[in-house]
């Protein structure tokens, strides 16, 4: 009798333990499964964020490659952009990038130096930092209005390469300042102290020790900034870009053609434009902009490896 009760009790305990273990395993399983599902969705979100870019780039290459020829890249447009090439458009964009660089780089780097080497932690510095952050968020068309009001009309530069470059430089400034500041901050303190200890002045230290060390970072920022400038349309739309200019700009006060504005016009404004031409313009714009992005990435990668 006792044996039977004992066996029954043991069976009861074993069954209970088994149930508990099974419940735990089951709970673990569903938790594992719910984790799998959740990670699946996160992966899907990542794919949704990353794949369209690749699609856009590949699709543009496939469709635009047909338009790319020697004459497309080296001739001026004819028949209202329907025939001929886009050489003046490409050159106009390079002028713009150059103009942006000339104005934004010196001021941006000097501002970066000021903020890292000279500025104290006071209200003015905080105000400058706040201005930089907010400048980066100002809509591009508002920069266009600013350029129109100040450079085109008040300074009487007219609708011109100069006005457009200055406008783009104002827009690029926030980025140049931010990247130079990061690059200068990354230079170890000991370098500065060593230089000051052997009797160099502050400016000599900045000029001969800090800046050379920060140079790769500064160049990366500058390249990224002009790549953005090359793709901007809204600011130049109001400050001097034109669809068809018979000659290349011969002075900074001339109007000019530029890739993004050209793409906008052939795609949206001119009826009966051949699709091949449109994709061709799009491809050239994409190549110009992204090749500078890639260049920036290479410089950054190289300088990281060196350190």
């Amino acid at each position: 009798m006792v044996d039977r009760w004992l066996i029954a009790f043991i069976v009861y305990v074993v069954v209970n333990i088994a149930v508990v273990i099974l419940a735990i395993i089951k709970a673990k399983m569903t938790r594992k499964i719910s984790e799998r599902t959740a990670f699946g969705f996160l992966g899907l979100a990542t794919a949704l964020a990353a794949l369209p870019v690749l699609f856009i780039i590949i699709y543009t290459i496939v469709n635009g490659a047909g338009a790319i020829s020697w004459s497309f890249l080296t001739q001026a447009p004819s028949q209202a952009g329907k025939a001929g090439g886009i050489l003046p458009v490409i050159i106009g964009t390079f002028y713009l990038m150059l103009g942006t660089l000339v104005f934004a780089l010196p001021i941006g780097v000097m501002a970066g130096i000021y903020l890292t080497e000279y500025a104290r932690d006071n209200w003015l510095t905080r105000l400058i930092n706040m201005a930089i952050v907010n400048l980066a968020g100002v809509p591009s068309i508002v920069f266009g209005l600013f350029g129109l009001g100040v450079f085109v009309l008040t300074f009487h530069f007219g609708l011109s390469l100069l006005a457009a470059s200055l406008t783009l430089a104002c827009q690029a400034l926030a980025m140049v300042i931010t990247t130079s500041r990061e690059a200068i901050l990354a230079v170890p303190r000991e370098y500065r102290e060593g230089s000051l200890a052997i009797g160099a002045t502050k400016w000599q230290t900045v000029r001969h020790i800090v800046l050379p060390q920060a140079l790769p970072g500064i160049i990366t920022g500058a390249v990224l900034a002009i790549s953005r400038a090359a793709g901007e349309t809204a600011p130049i739309l109001v400050t001097g870009a034109a669809f068809l200019v018979p000659r290349l700009p011969s002075s900074p006060f001339d109007q000019f053609m530029a890739l993004p504005y050209h793409l906008y016009t052939v795609a949206s404004e001119v009826p009966g434009m051949s699709k091949t031409t449109m994709w061709g313009v799009a491809l050239v714009l994409l190549v110009v902009v992204l090749s500078f992005d890639v260049l920036a990435a290479i410089i950054r990668f190289r300088s990281r490896q060196r350190i």
Partner: protein, 313 residues
């Protein structure tokens, strides 16, 4: 107080002092330029505000702010002209809202995946691709919307034209992804390791840790990321100009063609005579746009600053 002349005697007797007091004029000159360059960001921001106010505010002597903000008719060339920006305002709100609703789950999910789940190799491949997305010019996105997306939207929703608010919103959601992903990812990375380890020690799985520990801890940063995405969408011009359709009526549905505030400025400014009523009205729209994006950015910045301090040790 030293009399003039005595200081040079003191300096001559002390080399260290003389070094410090030597008038390095060139250096002073350069340093004053550096200071000036440092002020440039403020100068430009103040300049933008000044230009927008100077050129834009005079419109309110012609049309009351109420009429301007809530008027539904934008007829700048009729006699007499009327300037009501409600259609543009509603267009901006509608497109921004749809773009944000579409971009947030994808952006935050992608950030969580990259920050917590992805093996290093996938992370190192995906991050540059998303940076690449940030580098694609907005006119290019407009072109893609025009050529590829709008025919698709047209056939799916049986519309007369695929150039409508929805098409613009989809393109904008794609364009606001990079900033949402990168700022959210930074916020997730800033969550202290101890939080996660404590969660694992309690027996939580990785997903439970992400869901109940990481995301709540990083929530304010993720919120700031969303705000920045919204700011991006409000200010985007070319994409909207090319694919939103450009209708001037108040949009009633996302599939209506519409105009946003940015697109209204870009399409109208070419025909506006300087100092004319339309010119003033467009600058006034610019002013409103500027105030909206400034507010969004200031709040996002404030939130990020606070988050940074919260986890700083």
């Amino acid at each position: 107080m030293l009399k003039p002349g005595t200081s040079s005697v003191v300096a001559a007797s002390n080399t260290g002092d003389s070094l410090r007091r030597r008038p390095r004029l060139g250096e002073r000159f350069i340093e004053s330029w550096i200071f000036l360059a440092g002020l440039f960001a403020i100068i430009i921001l103040v300049g933008i505000i000044a230009v927008l106010i100077k050129e834009g505010l005079p419109i309110f002597t012609y049309s009351s702010p109420w009429q301007f903000l809530f008027g539904t008719k934008w007829y700048p060339t009729s006699e007499p002209p009327t300037f009501g920006i409600l259609p543009f305002f509603v267009g901006t709100l509608m497109i921004t809202l749809i773009a944000t609703v579409a971009a947030v789950p994808i952006g935050v999910g992608c950030a969580a995946y990259l920050a917590e789940v992805a093996p290093p190799r996938i992370r190192e491949t995906v991050k540059p691709i998303i940076e690449l997305l940030a580098g694609i010019p907005s006119v290019m996105m407009g072109f893609i919307g025009l050529m590829l997306l709008s025919p698709l939207v047209k056939s799916i929703f049986h519309l007369n034209t695929g150039l409508c608010g929805l098409t613009a919103a989809i393109m904008l959601s794609l364009m606001s992804l990079p900033i949402i992903v990168s700022v959210s990812e930074d916020a997730l990375h800033a969550v202290p390791k101890e939080f996660k380890e404590a969660s694992y020690a309690l027996g939580a799985t990785k997903w439970e840790t992400i869901r109940h520990v990481c995301i709540p801890a990083a929530l304010s940063g993720i919120g700031a990321a969303i705000m920045l995405g919204v700011g991006r969408a409000i200010g985007e011009t070319m994409t909207v100009l090319m694919v939103a359709g450009g209708a001037l009526a108040v949009p009633l549905s996302p599939t209506d063609p519409m105009t946003t505030m940015t697109a209204a400025i870009a399409s109208g400014i070419g025909n506006a005579a300087r100092g004319g009523l339309q010119y003033q009205a467009l600058f006034a729209i610019g002013l409103i746009l500027f105030v909206m994006t400034l507010a969004v950015n200031l709040i996002a910045e404030r939130v990020l600053e606070r988050q940074k301090r919260k986890f700083a040790r």
